[in-house]
């Protein structure tokens, strides 16, 4: 029960008017800009006759009543009790949350809670002029608005679009716009796809107490029947969400298909955090057929971590299920476990920073064939790996004369590699490796006459890592990248099963410029020379040979929202072995983003043909009501369009129409090219989506 309405019931009503004619003890006539205030309710009218004997107000309009919730009632004339709790209003119009308007011939107020309107037209559309027809409206013989439950009950409701009746419902219940969480249907979506045919999704929301809810979404289409479900639960120390569906369709007749994704995040005692993300699917093509996700490898993970200023503890268990038709889940590592702890110390006497860390790793393949059989990859089919490694490093920096920033880093790595079910590798090997790096940076700065700032920073690193490569297999470090993040590093392999050995020299130059009128640019160039070439580096890593490719990376940003950034690895013939670029332009009208990637042919990285692709996505607001979005992916090598998407949206104060079309051209044994269309028509005024003032149309007089 809405307590505020209760307790203000017997507050005195204040009546203000230009003129009050006190006829006698029982009758009082107020006229001229009459306003009556009672509790949270304000009433304005041209004339009010207050009859004390029957405690009623006879009110002559135009009447405007505003209640504490912001609901507005307009009427031509009315008779109400002194607390405005009961009474009859003629020619009444109820406006809820400044959005939804219910116009009726007559409205009856009951107990200050119910408003019963008869012969009603309900819409949230702007109506200009007296007899203009709204874009859509619901006409009903009777509508009851329950202010406490915040519900609208329609009897004999007829839905009309531009005054054309579309469908008829004997009874209909809709939430009033101020209702936050209520059981009921959400906005339906029409969906058509070449794989599933034409269909409709109608989500139904069921709140369970204050901390849980369940949304069931039947999806009925010509080629499939599916029930989607989403269960959410909030705990005091975390939350859980489960999404899934159960389907049967003509693509795999007679088979129950479906998927289940569950993810949760929990705060444990002593600052630990636990996340888990479970992904299951009934068959390899289901997720693409139903357009759930484009992922071609499903990873289910459990992740525990604690982050403190000087300590990082991480532990994770990952299970992979590959959906790629050429990959066999038996010979791929499907269970991967890691745990690591790192601590940072700042010894006062010694100075600098001491870092100690320890890590354990393991990955497992179901197969136990100790050699590489006829599967798609060249790795040993059944190989399982275990590793224990520890690292101690000390680093310090000084500022030498002339502003040179010098740094020394010393590392000691202890690694033990255990390999099972692999005839080609050493079973168990342990190594101690040490490394040292001396880094010199000499940044110069300049402030120009108009305030422009420029910084030039030459870099140099001399590094040495002892030892040779132990005979353990390389399962994890087969894809090495080279960018500004590891230009100055002692080992660029991504995992501890491989390290760089021998002497290296890395040199680079960084240039940054900031112009006073709001644009800025940056450029980084770098190269690495090494004593002996490392045969484990692939061609596209750019680190092959005794002199690496040139690393060139640049950035440009302008105040008007344009940003460009690119990075490339130039080989000795000045050809890119790898190039990536990103451009973005966003302002209040549009948000455009483009990406480019080029990867050279590299059999060592299972890339038998070059990979070069443009992708573009943009949103553009054409006018106050219309906005469009598009996304493209074009494969430059095969000269084919990979996917294209188009979106169109119309939105005004009472309706939001979203239309989307996507066409995917990729095809393989468990993947078919598909075209999907989506149409959602949302009637505004029944959800708490706010009144979207920025989309409100106005009447041109």
């Amino acid at each position: 029960q809405d307590s505020t309405a209760e307790q203000t019931q017997d507050d005195p009503a204040l009546l203000v008017a230009d003129e009050v004619f006190v006829e006698n003890e029982e009758r009082l006539v107020a006229s001229g800009n009459v306003e009556a205030l009672q509790g949270g309710i304000r009433l304005s009218a041209t004339r009010i006759i207050y009859d004390r004997s029957t405690d009623t107000l006879i009110i002559e309009g135009p009447i405007r009543i505003t209640d504490a919730d912001g609901n507005v009632i307009l009427a031509d004339e009315a008779t109400l009790d002194q607390g405005f709790r009961n009474g009859l209003l003629k020619g009444a119009r109820l406006v809820l949350d400044q959005q939804l308007q219910l116009a009726s011939v007559e409205a009856r107020r009951v107990d200050g809670r119910y408003t019963q309107l008869s012969r009603v037209a309900v819409t949230s559309c702007q109506v200009c002029g007296h007899n203009a027809t709204p874009l859509w409206q619901i006409r009903a013989k009777r509508v009851v608005h329950d202010q406490v439950e915040r519900q609208l009950y329609f009897d004999e409701a007829q839905f009309r679009v531009l005054d054309v009746p579309v469908f008829y419902l004997p009874h209909l219940r809709l939430p009033d716009p101020t209702l936050k969480r209520a059981r009921g249907f959400l906005i339906p979506t029409f969906h058509s796809s070449t794989l599933l045919g034409f269909g409709i999704k109608v989500p139904y929301f069921i709140p369970i107490g204050r901390h849980q809810d369940l949304t069931l979404t039947p999806h009925l289409s010509t080629k499939a029947r599916s029930l989607g479900y989403r269960y959410r639960r909030a705990f005091a120390y975390g939350d859980l969400e489960i999404n899934g569906a159960i389907s049967s369709d003509t693509l795999k007749p007679g088979e129950a298909r479906g998927y289940l994704f569950a993810e949760g995040a929990f705060r444990l005692p002593r600052d630990f955090k636990l996340d888990f993300d479970l992904k299951l699917t009934s068959d390899a093509s289901y997720l693409n057929d139903y357009d759930i996700t484009g992922a071609d490898r499903l990873s289910s993970t459990v992740d525990l971590r604690r982050v403190r200023r000087d300590e990082l503890i991480t532990a994770s268990l990952v299970h992979y299920e590959s959906l790629r038709d050429f990959e066999d889940n038996d010979t791929q590592p499907t269970i991967i476990g890691d745990a690591a702890i790192e601590r940072r110390f700042f010894p006062a006497a010694l100075g600098g920073e001491l870092r100690l860390s320890a890590a354990v790793h393991g990955h497992y393949r179901y197969s136990s064939i100790p050699f590489d059989s006829a599967d798609a990859d060249l790795d040993v089919d059944g190989r399982d790996v275990g590793r224990i490694s520890a690292e101690a490093s000390w680093r310090k920096r000084w500022t030498l004369a002339g502003g040179i920033r010098a740094g020394v880093t010393t590392n000691l790595w202890l690694d033990r590699h255990m390999t099972f079910q692999d005839n080609t590798s050493v079973r168990d090997v342990a190594r101690a490796t040490h490394g040292v790096a001396v880094e010199l940076r000499w940044p110069w700065e300049r402030t120009g006459p108009r305030g422009q700032r420029t910084v030039i920073e030459p870099l140099l690193q001399l590094g040495y890592v002892s030892g040779q490569r132990p005979g353990n297999p390389n399962d994890e470090s087969t894809r090495v990248e080279f960018d500004e993040g590891n230009l100055l590093s002692l080992s660029r392999f991504p995992a501890a099963d491989r390290r760089e050995h021998g002497g290296t020299v890395a040199a680079g130059l960084r240039w940054m410029h900031q112009a006073p009128d709001g644009w800025s640019a940056a450029l980084t160039i770098g190269r690495i020379w090494r004593e002996t070439a490392d045969t484990e580096f692939t061609r596209s890593s750019g680190l092959q040979g005794t002199a690496s490719d040139w690393l060139v990376a640049g950035r440009f940003a302008h105040q008007n929202g344009l940003t460009l950034s690119a990075r490339g690895l130039l080989d000795d013939q000045a050809r890119f072995s790898k190039a990536e670029a990103r451009a973005g332009w966003s302002n209040n009208r549009m948000d455009l983003g483009a990406s480019y990637v080029l990867l050279v042919t590299d059999p060592d990285e299972d890339r038998l043909e070059a990979q070069s692709e443009w992708s573009f996505d943009g949103e553009y607001r054409i006018s106050q009501h219309w906005s469009t979005s598009t996304s493209w992916r074009y494969d430059l090598v095969d000269r084919r369009l990979d996917r294209v998407g188009l979106g169109l949206q119309y939105q005004n104060e009472c309706v939001q129409v979203d239309f989307g079309a996507t066409r995917k051209f990729a095809s393989s044994s468990n993947l078919e090219p598909s075209t999907d269309f989506d149409l959602t028509v949302a009637l505004k005024g029944f959800s708490t989506g706010g009144s979207a003032k920025e989309f409100r149309r106005t009447c041109q007089h």
Binding site: G294, R309, T447, V597, A666
Partner: protein, 149 residues
């Protein structure tokens, strides 16, 4: 030609070296960003305090005709603001920077996972270096505001 060494006495670098404290990190990325920042400008407790908000998105690229996504890209955005430790209300310097790192998924599952984790770690090093560059460029505005306090 007008260039002076940034870390020589009186250079902008001296405004920053050993004078910036970081907030307690809450995420792995925050920890790695802070580790790199303190490695280059030293750990200190003031007089300045740097607050950084890091957002990392992942984008799939390089799709083959068979529908496999062969390349992923982490796009990192860092929004930072520098304040005086004693006066948390007024912002002395603020700015934003962004960077990206990539990794391929043509390898085995465990190779892709290692490449993904390494890409995110490299992204934090690049973002930290770029924030330090930006602070070095804007450092004169720092001494200007300190002067007129």
């Amino acid at each position: 030609c007008g260039f002076t060494p940034a870390y020589a006495p009186g250079g902008s670098g001296q405004q920053l070296l050993g004078r910036i404290a970081l907030d307690e990190p809450k995420t792995k990325n925050g920890y790695r960003f802070g580790r790199r920042f303190e490695e280059r400008l030293g750990r200190s407790s003031g007089p300045f305090r740097l607050s950084v908000k890091i957002q990392v998105d992942r984008q799939g690229l390089g799709s083959t005709s068979a529908g496999a996504t062969t390349r992923f890209r982490f796009v990192g955005r860092a929004l930072y603001s520098l304040r005086d430790v004693g006066d948390p209300e007024t912002v002395l310097l603020e700015g934003r920077t962004n960077a990206f790192t990539g990794y391929s998924t043509t390898g085995s599952t465990v190779a892709t996972l290692a490449a993904q984790r390494d890409a995110e770690e490299r992204l934090m090093i690049i973002l930290a270096d770029q924030v330090i560059d930006q602070l070095l460029i804007d450092a004169p505005r720092l001494s200007a505001s300190a002067a007129d306090q």
